[in-house]
Symmetry: C2
Subunit: 277 residues, 2 copies
């Protein structure tokens, strides 16, 4: 947590990692990684090495009109036909879970590849309950992504735009599979990450005002913050934001124009910006 990416991004590490002993379906004697045959418990079940399907699911958040939105996709086929679900899909044969998440995000949101490439993408948790899919065993690696408010709505990428939509998290109804639990976990994690990392700027455009940054915190936390104190805290955190010299923008039309900032080089907040209560 000290100096690493706020998203606990491990893809670069993943790629350079050596492989791990694995099952070969017809060679049961060599299947049980890391354990000797002598150590195996009695009742050893060959079905233990049944293959699994592996998917990624994405909780993508943005802030639009002062409300936290998440990207949902309407399912067209059973089970859960007609239900909304998190975007996601299967791992391809030669890609890591993070690569798959990035690919799915690009495909389903139609974001330019350049934007997707350097996006905040954090591995949330892996969901592996045996009955989470009624038809077969599926293990899913969930990721969280934070994006700025997009000029173009989601699913502009060629597909049926009606099938993918930004939905205010407050109005999200029942979701397919265990996606409601994944979404809840993602919300918890995102709120917590705002406290001790600089990821809040991921919700903002390249240049933003401190008022807009504060709105990110207030929207995600569902709390109101004291503006002078928030300002003092952010400016006192080295590397959180860097001022754009001479630049300012009229925020609401009225009032004093606000100075503009860009995201700084820091990824963690020392000390943290704790949410009230």
């Amino acid at each position: 947590m000290s100096t690493g990416s706020p998203a606990h991004d491990g893809s670069a590490r993943d790629v350079s990692r050596a492989g791990r002993l694995a099952a070969e379906r017809l060679d049961v004697d060599r299947l049980d990684t890391g354990r000797l045959a002598a150590e195996r418990p009695e009742g050893y079940d060959p079905r233990a090495f049944e293959p699994f399907a592996v998917t990624v699911d994405l909780a993508v958040f943005t802030i639009r009109a002062g409300q936290l939105h998440t990207l949902l996709i309407r399912r067209g086929e059973p089970p859960y036909a007609g239900r909304w679900a998190l975007p996601g899909g299967f791992l391809h044969a030669r890609e890591s879970a993070e690569d798959a998440a990035r690919r799915e995000l690009a495909e389903e949101t139609g974001l330019p590849d350049a934007l997707v490439a350097d996006l905040q993408l954090e591995q949330l948790r892996t969901y592996s309950a045996p009955d989470r899919d009624p038809r077969m065993r599926v293990v899913s690696v969930a990721y969280t992504a934070l994006v700025p408010d997009l000029p173009e709505p989601a699913a502009s990428g060629g597909g049926d735009a009606d099938q993918a939509r930004w939905t205010p998290v407050a109005t999200v109804g029942p979701l397919a599979f265990d996606h409601a639990a994944i979404l809840a976990d993602a919300l918890d994690r995102t709120g917590a990450k705002l406290e001790y990392t600089c990821v809040a700027t991921a919700f903002c455009p390249p240049e933003f005002t401190l008022g807009e940054l504060q709105q990110v915190y207030e929207t995600v936390w569902g709390a109101t913050l004291d503006r002078p104190n928030f300002r003092r805290k952010v400016l006192a955190s080295p590397g959180f934001v860097t001022p754009v010299p001479g630049a300012s923008r009229l925020t609401g039309g009225r009032g004093k124009p606000a100075a503009l900032y860009r995201r700084g080089p820091a990824t963690t907040l020392h000390p943290p910006l704790l949410r009230p209560r």
Copy 2:
């Protein structure tokens, strides 16, 4: 992060979750979860739905003789024959990853089932680099467990005791597969969790002195802490520890006997106990 288990324990939730749409190997048209056929990119590869093997790996930590130790197992077969590795194994057909981790932990450490059942067990991260196993595709869900210093060394459970050992993390050599990276991630995470959760007591026996608790922090962080200040902080955190009335224990033989405490009901630390610098 607010009131949940410090280990982000999601097993209870997992079990109650509905299943997720999955691949059926002979029904390619229904394989791509959450996406319509119209949305699929060209060059769609049927091998994308190749089955994966899913394993769990365990970074088990304990403190012994003032040093942080981790449980390692010596591999008996290639690849990496003779190398040390983290304990772990394959998911069985009808168990969640957390259940598998708990089962593997019980099998490989020989701990009493009762102890394993209510153990701190936290999902760390999922490792999915395509080349992490030279023979086939293996996705591994890594867990971290913190245990008190065990009277009996590891692998007392029937097997070849020479194949499993507590090893000081400072002297861990090269490990099999990407286990060195997993171990490093687990160390990072454990150090960070000590700051804002109460998991440190997981390293201690049921009754412990504040000096022993402080040693946990000092050992994991590799730093020395001021004793009066540590004491003040711990006692000021409601629910972190509860005193055992009238009980005391001679710690080193010499000196004033220390009061005994048990772990309290709290799981998170407000405000956090930040490590120095």
